[in-house]
Symmetry: D2
Subunit: 390 residues, 4 copies
Amino acid sequence: MDPITELLAEVLEEIRPRDAGAPADYIPELASADPDLLAFSVVGPRGRVRSVGDDHAEFTIQSISKPFVLALALAEKGRDAVLGRVGAEPSGEPFNAISLEPVTGRPANPMINAGAIATSALIPGDDVDDRTARIVDMLSAFAGRSLWVDEAVYASESLTGERNRALAHLLKSHAVIDGPVDVAVETYFRQCSLLVTVRDLAVMAATLAFGGVNPVTGRRVVDERVARDVLSIMSSCGMYDYSGEWLLRVGLPAKSGVSGGLMAVAPSQFGVAAFSPRLDTHGNSVRAVALVEEASERFGMHLLEPHESVASPALSLHGDDTARVVRLGGELGYAGAERIVAILRDVAGGLPEDVPVTVDARELGRTHPGALVALRSEFEDLPNWIWLSE
Amino acid sequence: MDPITELLAEVLEEIRPRDAGAPADYIPELASADPDLLAFSVVGPRGRVRSVGDDHAEFTIQSISKPFVLALALAEKGRDAVLGRVGAEPSGEPFNAISLEPVTGRPANPMINAGAIATSALIPGDDVDDRTARIVDMLSAFAGRSLWVDEAVYASESLTGERNRALAHLLKSHAVIDGPVDVAVETYFRQCSLLVTVRDLAVMAATLAFGGVNPVTGRRVVDERVARDVLSIMSSCGMYDYSGEWLLRVGLPAKSGVSGGLMAVAPSQFGVAAFSPRLDTHGNSVRAVALVEEASERFGMHLLEPHESVASPALSLHGDDTARVVRLGGELGYAGAERIVAILRDVAGGLPEDVPVTVDARELGRTHPGALVALRSEFEDLPNWIWLSE
Amino acid sequence: MDPITELLAEVLEEIRPRDAGAPADYIPELASADPDLLAFSVVGPRGRVRSVGDDHAEFTIQSISKPFVLALALAEKGRDAVLGRVGAEPSGEPFNAISLEPVTGRPANPMINAGAIATSALIPGDDVDDRTARIVDMLSAFAGRSLWVDEAVYASESLTGERNRALAHLLKSHAVIDGPVDVAVETYFRQCSLLVTVRDLAVMAATLAFGGVNPVTGRRVVDERVARDVLSIMSSCGMYDYSGEWLLRVGLPAKSGVSGGLMAVAPSQFGVAAFSPRLDTHGNSVRAVALVEEASERFGMHLLEPHESVASPALSLHGDDTARVVRLGGELGYAGAERIVAILRDVAGGLPEDVPVTVDARELGRTHPGALVALRSEFEDLPNWIWLSE
Amino acid sequence: MDPITELLAEVLEEIRPRDAGAPADYIPELASADPDLLAFSVVGPRGRVRSVGDDHAEFTIQSISKPFVLALALAEKGRDAVLGRVGAEPSGEPFNAISLEPVTGRPANPMINAGAIATSALIPGDDVDDRTARIVDMLSAFAGRSLWVDEAVYASESLTGERNRALAHLLKSHAVIDGPVDVAVETYFRQCSLLVTVRDLAVMAATLAFGGVNPVTGRRVVDERVARDVLSIMSSCGMYDYSGEWLLRVGLPAKSGVSGGLMAVAPSQFGVAAFSPRLDTHGNSVRAVALVEEASERFGMHLLEPHESVASPALSLHGDDTARVVRLGGELGYAGAERIVAILRDVAGGLPEDVPVTVDARELGRTHPGALVALRSEFEDLPNWIWLSE
């Protein structure tokens, strides 16, 4: 067992004894879930999936489908069209709150049920099956394997889903959804009934973490801007009326589901997922929340933790007083450019004017083009400076 | 003019023609502001203050004082004590909404007026002057210079501040504030009446961006965790009922004030501030919002933009087949450790077993201790590997 | 033309020039109503129907059906069963507000749409036709003639009624309605589409005014307690978020409909109705409101106007010093008994002890039995008093 | 003991055993009330005060002062001026709800605290003492004796009244109150601290019941229209968020207070009051509510009970075939006129044309002038009819 997996296992055992909360009970299929199931998984930048506990237990994805269907809607329709039908504001209200804007009838955001139904209704398709197929394809691409609908759960959701049906009719009354109400609602029930494991959720989270590229399959699923938009909305609205405190304590865009799953994203670092069926009063899994909170603390993943590297690209100096080579590495943004300028000024100041200086930027990774121009412009009138870049 | 300042000036001129909105008019001092004033400033990691436009125009800080007084309260009382009196949830409501929790009377968050008054009331002190002095000291430390109260604005705020007085009495009725209501409210009015320039705000923002260290004075103002907490709450609640859409579009923790100021934080990269008195219906400065939005786009500062460097510490290979040296640089977290493990495995695989490999980690910057342990543990049973670290 | 009809005509012409407001436009059938139509009708205790203006114009009853379907539900199920499904509190909100109680999901009252749908769903019946038939029978009994559904309006209501459908699904989700949602909603749309004239509405109102007996047909439609309950709820909730001000200004239980009808009840005095299609922002007919308000003022119908007669039964003295006869008439309640006791004491005091006094109560109308006992008990020990009662 | 007092005593003993609820505890003076105190009183049209139980126990009037201060404001300023500052709509919310209209800041109605403070602030006066004096004078006139402030309760109310102070500052911020906030609030605290007995409250209620004339002192306290307006607002808003159900079940304009008092008005019949300190969750006295509810049922006082007499003035026929005298008595409104017309037509039809008929209307009590004109006009062309009226 590698050190990261060991750490996951350690956290898992620490959290395991907690037994507060109860599984969701609005449909028999959720109420009968084994409340002791517990699983935790992390996927890093190279696509290695680490998991501990009941990591092969399947459960329905429920509300965790919302960010991925949002990704599909953004990819298909564009941000403006999506925002025309659903807002991006936290409502400070529970998942099943009505929360429609007074005049337009736009739901507050795509993470509450009303907004998720509005989002789902944006997916093109002739009928429920056609729309569901597109959604399943998208979520399968995020997961890196084909996902399946649990038909028994779907049937129960459909049988008891009067509140969601009500929300859909309200949306229809405001012309927020276009087609038949039934198609919108049944598609939504099917997307919620997709079966996943904690490992699937971690891979799906990682795909958002790495700008839309699934780190396991290497396939680009959505473009970087779509991934960024989804993460933004998860940050402000993903944990319902606990979103603000979650961002304060844990600092990760996240989404929970009523079957006990929880997915969190440490951008550019990790996809994280946890699973345990017992829920708290916000509808979030008690132990999954604790697992992710603990992991965020131990792994230092809080989004608002300062990251020195963002402003500090690597730089190494080579050569001697007759010829200098400065090698740049890592990522270069504006803040990093400012740091490098200061160091290069030191270099320049300590050398006779005619000593040639080569700045080798060919090993730079992700580079902001303006930042590189800004960096070069500071030295471009020095005749003996040579810039190497691709 | 350096390239970054040039870029600021370019953006400034692009935004200048917009003339929508109007200055706040609830007190004469704000209503009489010159609506054409326009300024923009950015402070980077080395404390260089760049600014364009009316960068020496003074205005009252108003609601932008809220995150800094929150920082003081967190520093003085600790997070739990502060959260006992004020929540961390966006309310989806305007700045002057009442938004108290039903039973406890806790205001939704410290960025709305009710929450800011509750926060201000946590600052110790015998009377208004004593409390104000502590607040002024803290904000001055953030700004790197002594700030002053505009007494005329303070007098007007106090004269007309019936709604804030009402909020304070409500808080008192719920025992959310302890001392006399008048002391709480007058202290709050004084903190709102501090005079700043756009350059001050950019330095203050930068102090939050760099983990609580003022990059101009080099002085630590608050500890890193306090800065992180403040940024978390600014992210979810800083722009009132536009907070979600702001996070989506601009992606920076930010705070606006009714006098037309706006401060945004790109963690580890920049403090940013803009100023223009004309406000939109959310109470945010029309042109200041546009300046920061444009800058975020051009400088690539969105918080949820993937940053490769976070997961990619710099690494350089030296030596030959008889002896290898691997130099690590930049920042090392878990995700970075995973990347380095993969590269080191390649190195190890390509060398005869007895060739000594020296891994020089002494140049690593900010390093997660667990990540370094995890990294070393992968290779510690290889007898010919030597680890150099501080 | 009799004096009351003359007065109605005079008021009608006074109000006619007002042209504020516009007909409802959510379905074409209402939008195309002739906005100049104007009618007014009053029905008194002997069933004489007086009317002026376009008193034969038919329009759909819309929300004015609500109190009559409530009467049917009360008659069929009893007050407790009805209150188990719908409250009796004004919500201070518009007609289409959601206004469900937090936990039970009970709509606030039967006069808003959600409550009316819940009430309609209590009517027994196998299907939409069966339920509609019972409702039509009841409303026809109130009107004293067979009413018909306007099928074109019904079809339009059904086509566009997404908000009402949403309300019904919400009610279903709280188990406030039992059967299929579609049956509940379509029955409700049909009840709203019944065609009436202003004369019908005045007769229906009069049937409520006279304790459930239709004064035209002489037939008891519902019992007195049902009529009282319906009037109570109309008093507090009948004019939506204008109910309180209406009770203040006009002082009559009333109900308005979106097609421009308005019905008001002066208990024991009159049924009143008015019709004019142009609506104000509360959804009440501008001119119908003005007609009823003016009539209430001129006819002295305000419910909280003091009515001396309530406390003053008629009493006449006959005979001379050798034998006295006291004849009682009118209505006798406790307050009246108190007045009569005082007068009879005067009579007793002014007569020699052995003069016989006959109190003839046989002409008393509606008499509270306890009040008569209380009255007699004051004099029962006087040997020369004789009581005649039926 | 007279029969009505016996009935009161019987009801009192029936209700006495109920021990649910608890006295208000927000100030020590209320918390220490003897929870077993129980009293009941009724005042009829001739001013006889009947009472049973602890009818001399004094308690502070609290919210029951609201309708009387409203009466004073209406008398001093007129209805329009009062409605400019406070609405007349039930809010469906508890007594201490904020319930201000969005833009104007008008409180929903004068029976909730915010509205009562706004109403109290309309009373002219130089300072708290001056305004309080006017209020005490008015309430004393309603009670028929000089009332006194309980200074200990006042001091406690003032000490703990932060929520009411908050409401007053909110009102000030909307310019709903004009003078200093402190004067408004302290005046309000003093009006709530007036000491009354259950007998006082019954007399005060009776003064409203009989159109503004105190039936004990015979003094007119306010004019009839003011009394009607106050009763209208009590009907829709007097019992907070139980007002609608109260009107349904009990059918009397009423007002309750937190010290356990309850006052109800049966217009033209009775003033009723009850007292018992234990409160339910709406803040209404458990046993006082039960007493009044039971009394309304037994005495037949429900406002929407049909009252035949309203439409049936007394009429007696005298004389023979050579000369007829018709004597009218009781009250004459339009509905009564219609009934009499029918009877007179019978009389006219049964007599030879030349027999003189004298209609003696001199004994009519309260008469609607239009109704008498309408009545006469039916017969004025008959040459042998003689009308006698004052």
